[in-house]
């Protein structure tokens, strides 16, 4: 399934995969899969895990009647069990030019590739379907989730081909994905989220309305927060906008005010839409981020 010698997929680190192999990818909400899998389904099924009793209604299969309960209470109860199904992992990655931002040789786009590729591999390994949506203004790729190894290669190949350029089209992509993904899915958004929080709010509310389990990896570097420059600088917009000439000693405080306000607003948006939000520092290792993410989603034992 994963070709270790294939340099095209170098953004996936086998060591990371090995480190995360013991952790499964779980959803926070029941899924509606097409086949049996490791994830809780929203419908009752025939698994071994008891779900609940309910009163018998005419038409129910009498094979599922709990006779012992009838013997004790002289009433008919149907015994229901949880159904296990697979999930659809939809990876929505931002491909705007701003993701070319590089710190210490690590660019955001490569970090996204690594993060998304690893997640795709983990999902595929446990039998889940993986899809990919690339969100660029002029470039929009849509690979519907499927659950075979060939499809994973297609996804990974697509990831490898991604180039960060142009303005962001994340908002449109999110709306499109919300509409385009038929069934419940685990939607993972990986982006620097340089969009107004109000716009993002509508996108995430849309996804939540479609009952998707939405995860957001927000890529942000410490240097972007600190804005630590010591002399006048010409800032070139990586998304092709108008360059700005600024004296950091003059605008530093305002910049930090703006980013602090933005992060606070974003936090509110994420909480309102119940988004599993992860702010990722580019300097943090991918395995650490994913381990935290996977551990955090592990179902609690009842």
């Amino acid at each position: 399934m994963f070709d270790k010698t294939n340099s095209q997929h170098s953004f996936i680190d086998p060591k990371v995969l090995a480190r995360l192999s013991g952790l499964g990818l779980h959803t926070r909400i029941p899924m509606l899969g097409s086949v049996s899998g490791r994830h809780r389904s929203s419908v009752r099924g025939s698994s071994l895990e008891f779900a609940e009793y309910r009163k018998y209604v005419p038409g129910d299969d009498i094979r599922r009647m709990d006779w012992r309960a009838w013997g004790r209470s002289d009433r008919f109860y149907i015994k229901e069990f949880e159904a296990d199904t697979n999930l659809r992992l939809c990876l929505i990655v931002d491909t705007s030019g701003s993701l070319n931002f590089t710190v210490d040789g690590i660019s955001k786009i490569n970090y996204i590739k690594s993060l998304a590729g690893t997640l795709a591999y983990l999902a595929s390994r446990q039998g889940d379907a993986v899809g990919l949506y690339c969100a660029g203004k002029n470039f929009h790729t849509e690979i519907k989730p499927k659950r075979n190894a060939t499809h994973l290669r297609i996804v990974l190949n697509e990831l490898a081909e991604i180039k960060a350029e142009g303005e962001t089209g994340l908002a449109e992509s999110l709306h499109k994905a919300a509409e385009g993904i038929d069934q419940r899915a685990l939607v993972v958004v990986i982006s620097d989220l340089y969009i107004e929080p109000d716009i993002l709010n509508s996108c995430f509310q849309h996804l939540r309305f479609r009952k998707h389990d939405v995860v957001t990896f927000h890529l942000l570097d410490q240097s972007e927060v600190d804005f630590d420059f010591d002399r006048p600088t010409r800032f070139v917009d990586m998304e092709g906008g108008v360059p700005i000439m600024a004296d950091p000693s003059l605008v530093s405080k305002q910049y930090q005010q703006a980013i602090t306000g933005y992060l606070a607003d974003l936090e509110t948006v994420m909480l309102d839409a119940a988004i599993d939000y992860h702010r990722v520092n580019l300097r943090d290792p991918v395995d650490e981020i994913l381990a935290r993410f996977l551990v955090g989603r592990k179902p609690k034992k009842k």
């Binding site: 340089y194 010409r234 800032f235 906008g241 930090q256 119940a274 702010r279």
Partner: protein
């Protein structure tokens, strides 16, 4: 504001350095590929209002710091009057110091006089301010220029000490003018320190127009008047108007007329009389008498002081208790036996000679001795010039050696009266000559006008005029003046406007020209008698003053002229240096002669000139008046570089405070939020 190092102000453009650095930094930028542009746009949008103000303040503080540093190094002087002067330093500074007696008015609390206050302040100011390469003091006593080494040297020099003289401010300015014209120093400052005494300034003098005009032609000359016009709060002056030594059968005594004058405004307006003690000192014997003062002062007429009969001549003084001007509190006098009043009449007409001898032979007072001798022109070589006081010359005007002898006679303080000779001639003496004999028309021979306030025809002591209106002139000879601009002072004019008596201006002594003769053929002078007698006696009295071994003088540089030096007799304490003899009040002795030197009458009586009048004297010239008060201890100009230094430090501190980096709240928040976000509420789903 003025500056001690004005050249440093050329560095003021350095104040633009912060702006320049800012602009250079703007061009020294680097280019960065940046992702989070939306925050930068917001930041730029927010970088208005307070942030912009803060930045402007930072720039302002930097500019202010540099400016303050430059100003501090240029050593600014704070004084309102200096603002209009300009900042260039002078090439020469001329000090016209008024050393007159009135400048010694003191502030009783500080003990500083107007002169010493002015001198100290000026020395201090010039020490701080650049005075150029030449510092010149013009002495008010003699108008001489003295180069001074440094402003500090001004204090303590004999030529800056107090004197009893009067100042001649127009004369001093003329000296300054001559100096500036001769040396051409370029930019020059002239400092005049004076109390604006009317006697010293003579604001009505025609010399001022010429001075103003000539100064206007000089470029770069600034006039500063350091004026002390404050009137003394309580000042009395004392003076001996007359002193006589009288010898009676029983005893010898001095008869003094003492005058006291008050300058206190309150005393002058109040009617309350007060008594004041006067100390009299004669021959080192002191006595004190009380004198009652009225609004104007007091007058002690004919005060008698008995003296030893063996004391033929000597000196004394009258003194007041100390007040705001110590220089007018003591007056020295000298006395001696009255000399024989000797007159020589040179005439070839015996009738005329007899008329003159009759008028001169009878003394006005019984104790006086008169001697009048008539000699013909051919025996003039027999005249004893030393013992003669008055010379009556009724002969053709002399020339050659005789003329020089008469000029020398006049210069020694004696008096010559010229009467017209009967024979014609064109000789001239004292820039005057005789014209032709005239016969006035009917009623034109009367005296139409005469000067009654001074000189030979002055009113008598009771204030009544002499009966000149009764005088008749039948023949007279015109007096021709060879000096059109200074024809002499007419003392009386006839009906046809021709002068009857003219006084020719001389430095010392007296020269009179009378246009008629006393005999009946020419006038009624002899017949009416009174005018003739008074005229001759007054001339003789004036002439006799120089014969007396004791003489009173107003303080002046050349008052003690002579072949042998005069020895100072009094005062013993605070005696002036030899070079200053004659400028200070005191008693001097030279062999058998006594001289008492005191301040002039004008120093006691002169008023202060109005400052507006003084300002008008400098109208059109670069001129600044600085009104100061006696004893005022504040400097004319203070160095205020410390203020600028403090300003610079404050500006730098403020700039540093404004540049202080603020706390990086966002970084902290990033970490906190990053940690929290991983465990976002699963339960809420």
């Amino acid at each position: 504001m003025s500056f001690l190092n004005p050249l440093i102000l050329a560095a003021l453009p350095l104040m633009a350095l912060p702006i320049l650095i800012h602009l250079i930094n703007q061009h020294r930028h680097r280019t960065v590929q940046w992702a989070a542009m939306m925050f930068l746009v917001s930041a730029k949008r927010m970088h208005k209002g307070m942030a912009r103000l803060r930045y402007l303040l930072i720039m302002l503080m930097r500019i202010a710091a540099i400016g303050a540093m430059i100003f501090a190094f240029s050593r600014p002087l704070a004084s309102g009057w200096m603002s209009g002067v300009g900042m260039g330093k002078p090439d020469a500074t001329l000090i016209l110091l008024d050393r007159s007696a009135s400048m010694e008015t003191q502030n009783i609390q500080t003990g500083e006089s107007k002169r010493s206050t002015a001198l100290k302040k000026l020395a201090e100011l010039l020490e701080k301010r650049d005075y150029g390469s030449q510092l010149i003091l013009i002495d008010s006593t003699n108008g001489e220029t003295h180069p001074i080494e440094s402003p500090k040297a001004l204090i303590g020099l004999p030529i800056t000490e107090a004197t009893a003289t009067s100042a001649n401010i127009p004369g001093m300015l003329e000296t300054a003018l001559a100096y500036l014209k001769a040396n051409k120093p370029g930019r020059a400052d002239i400092w005049i320190c004076s109390d604006l005494n009317e006697n010293d300034w003579a604001p009505d003098s025609g010399r001022w127009a010429a001075i103003r005009e000539q100064f206007a032609q000089l470029k770069g000359v600034h006039h500063f008047l350091l004026s002390y016009t404050d009137q003394p709060s309580n000042n009395l002056s004392i003076r001996v108007a007359n002193v006589k030594r009288r010898q009676t059968r029983n005893r010898d005594e001095l008869i003094l007329d003492v005058l006291l004058r008050t300058e206190n405004q309150q005393t002058q307006t109040s009617n309350v009389a007060r008594r004041i003690p006067i100390e009299l000192e004669v021959n080192n014997v002191r006595s004190v008498i009380d004198v009652e003062l009225d609004a104007q002062g007091a007058s002690l007429q004919g005060h008698r002081i008995p003296i030893d009969s063996k004391l033929r001549s000597g000196w004394g003084s009258v003194a007041l208790p100390s007040d705001s001007n110590p220089l007018d509190n003591r007056f020295y006098f000298v006395f001696s036996e009255p000399p024989v009043r000797k007159a020589i009449i040179v005439t070839d007409t015996s009738k005329t000679g007899k008329a003159f001898r009759r008028g001169l032979g009878i003394p006005t007072e019984s104790h006086l001795q008169h001697s009048a001798k008539v000699i013909p022109l051919s025996r003039v070589t027999e005249i004893d010039w030393e013992s003669t006081g008055l010379l009556i010359w009724q002969a053709p005007l002399p020339s050659g050696l005789l003329a020089k002898q008469i000029e020398s006679f006049v210069n020694s303080g004696r008096v010559v009266m010229f009467f017209p000779p009967t024979q014609s001639g064109s000789e001239k003496l004292f820039n005057s000559s005789w014209g032709n004999w005239q016969k006035p028309e009917q009623d034109r021979g009367k005296v139409a006008w005469w000067r009654g306030n001074a000189d030979l025809f002055a009113h008598v002591g009771s204030g009544d005029p002499l009966p000149l209106n009764e005088l008749r002139t039948y023949r007279y000879r015109t007096i021709e003046s060879l000096k059109a601009e200074n024809p002499g002072t007419p003392l009386a004019r006839l009906g046809d406007d021709k002068p009857l008596l003219v006084r020719v201006a001389t430095d010392r002594g007296g020269v009179y020209f009378c246009s008629t003769l006393p005999t009946a053929q020419f006038s009624s002078l002899e017949r009416d008698g009174v005018v003739f007698y008074v005229m001759l006696q007054r001339a003789l009295a004036e002439a006799s003053r120089s014969l007396s071994p004791a003489s009173q003088h107003d303080a002046a540089p050349d008052v003690l002229a002579g072949h042998t030096p005069w020895k100072l007799v009094a005062p013993i304490e605070n005696a002036p240096s030899i070079s200053q003899h004659g400028l200070h009040a005191g008693v001097y002795q030279n062999e058998g002669y006594w001289a008492a030197v005191n301040r002039s009458l004008d120093e006691d009586h002169s008023k202060t000139t109005r400052v507006e009048t003084v300002d008008e004297l400098f109208d059109g010239l670069p001129y600044q008046r600085i009104d100061d008060s006696v004893g005022n201890t504040s400097s004319l100009a203070n160095e205020i570089w410390r203020i600028f230094l403090i300003t610079m430090v404050l500006a730098l501190i403020l700039e540093a405070a404004l540049c202080m980096p603020e706390k990086k709240v966002a970084q902290q928040r990033f970490n906190e939020f990053s940690m929290a976000s991983g465990n976002m509420k699963q339960e809420s789903l």
